[in-house]
Symmetry: C2
Subunit: 321 residues, 2 copies
DNA sequence: TCAAAAGTGTTATCCTTACACCCATGT
DNA sequence: ACATGGGTGTAAGGATAACACTTTTGA
């Protein structure tokens, strides 16, 4: 790197003028018995994380090293989420910490028991995000009234209108408008309205009572929200669900997994056609007959589609020429 | 941040054991006279960048500060692209540098002349990416033969097949299969095949000759590829093009801008309908009659849609219930 | 026989794509 | 008149969403 700016650096040699700490932090997801779960350490309130060290070959391998060291759990698919920076007090010095967050998908080892880490349903942290059984009661009964109060607390009519509009968009006024992808927007709105426990620390005047939903250390819940949002978006255009499935599965199991992630129910006949028509899966020839009803064919993911298909992704009216 | 890992940190107090340098780096894009251009410093071979400093309020504001200091050019819309890490020699010490890259959209000030920075057409760096006049000659005449040679140079048949398959997917064998979003995959493929100048530095055995396309400092061209790819994806689902347009414009100007970014032509009548039907623009009542032909209505972007619409984004067969 | 889940058929609707054509201005 | 770009109509085809229905098992 020899960009022009070098000359203006303070203490280019070895001084630690603008040096920062870099942290790696992981949202590791699995779906077990139809519930999406996230890997946590400590009292279920922190995501696995650790400093990026000089002997890590890359950010990805550093992250894998940390997660595997802290949880003995190997990771499969991982993807970078977002990088953010905060000022942090370490000892007496004010120092920068940069956090580079990743999303990881894996299968949960249900046999293991550990005091240092565990799996927790992600809807424990975001109870308003699960719409599989309809709109959760807390949305109309607690969140919306609180958000309305927050909006009315605004300084001027414009601000009031803006706050309430953001709230109605983020949460969807009637059921058809609910957009499951807006996980981060919803969390940030609740944070801004000082309705989540994490907002209290920053000397916020905010409302007295906190809403349901388990808080996390520092801004880990915001990172988790980012990961959930990303995954909900991604399952729609890339076949990442299969990273969470066992080697063979029935179409209903696949559907339940998608529903768990999206937080909403999908239409069974159409879901089957969608999956089969895209050649994402192939039958194994075997069937499974455990959960009452007619035995279901077992399928496996067709690895080859990963190479064959890259994503259509047009939305422009291209002209042929 | 008090994640569990803290205890294992080397020199938690003030030691610089695992401290890193953090660089901010910007891909700043404008579209001028139907050509997409990128802001560069130095001999048109580096992107604006600089260290993230302790007095920057946030990553975004640090980036804005650097770009504005280096180019006197204020930024509009910005979004984070990707973060990557490399080992770098600074003085005698081996040290980490983390680069956090951003995409910025703006309008070019065509009056300014500066010796320290300039705007350059992005197809100078990626001549194979412009398909507005059909497939560029260098694709079939230079790139594909070189890639084929590279594929045939593989150690075993599997590797040969894999390399050639990746090449055909990335570049699209026949015109209909060209996917303009795969900018990064194409660049990385050419890099892996040691066909771009930047690949030579890393002691690569690679081929003797480099292909057309202006190289950049360090990995800046890879970052630019990331930015172009992201922008090409994004214009399809978010109205970001308007960040690049003047206050009022004709629909053909808008179309030319989209075409410049996508590197392909779009179908005029359908493009108009697409734009108008989505209520993205409103007429100003005025017309413009400069470039031969019937005077065109002028439009302006409807700012309100940013709030109203968040993105539909369904692709799952949801069930109503 | 009934409950539960597997699976198939079919239609209405909307969106995308393509083609054909007319309109208004300058030279 | 004609070239150039502006602008509208419309029909074919495919994807999506919704509804109705048959099949195969276990209790």
């Amino acid at each position: 790197m020899d960009h022009q700016a070098k000359g203006t650096r303070k203490g280019t040699g070895g001084g630690k003028g603008n040096d920062v700490k870099a942290d790696l932090i992981a949202v590791v997801v699995a779906v077990t018995k139809g519930e999406p779960r996230v890997l946590t350490i400590g009292q279920a309130s922190a995501l696995p994380s650790g400093p990026f060290e000089l002997d890590h070959r890359s950010l990805q391998s550093g992250l894998r090293a940390w997660v595997e060291r802290q949880t003995s759990h190997p990771l499969g698919y991982i993807e970078q989420l977002y990088t953010f920076a905060d000022r942090d007090r370490i000892g007496d010095e004010l120092q920068r910490v940069i956090s580079i967050s990743y999303l990881g998908l894996t299968r949960e080892d249900q046999t293991e028991r550990s005091p240092t880490h565990g799996w927790h349903g992600w809807y424990d942290y975001f109870p308003w995000e699960d719409h599989r059984s309809g709109i959760p009661a807390i949305v109309p009964e607690i969140l919306m009234p609180q958000l309305q109060a927050w909006a009315e607390d605004a300084d001027d009519p414009d601000m009031h209108h803006d706050r309430w509009q953001r709230a109605t968009i983020a949460f969807g006024l009637d059921e058809r408008d609910w957009n499951e992808e807006l996980v981060l927007q919803r969390y940030e709105l609740l944070h801004e309205a000082a309705l989540v426990a994490e907002a209290k620390h920053s000397g916020n005047t905010g409302s007295a009572l906190s809403i349901p939903g388990r808080p996390m250390t520092a801004d880990h819940r915001r990172i988790l929200a980012t990961g959930i949002g990303r995954l909900r978006t991604k399952i729609k255009y890339r076949p990442v669900v299969f990273e969470l499935m066992p080697a063979t599965f029935t179409l209903l199991q696949l559907q339940r997994t998608v529903e768990a992630l999206a937080g909403r129910l999908v239409h069974k006949p159409n879901f089957r056609r969608l999956v089969e028509q895209q050649d994402l899966v192939e039958g194994t020839g075997e069937t499974m007959s455990d959960t009452g009803g007619r035995p279901a064919k077992l399928f496996r993911f067709r690895q080859t589609v990963l190479a064959e298909r890259t994503v259509a992704g047009t939305k422009l009216p291209l002209s042929r020429a």
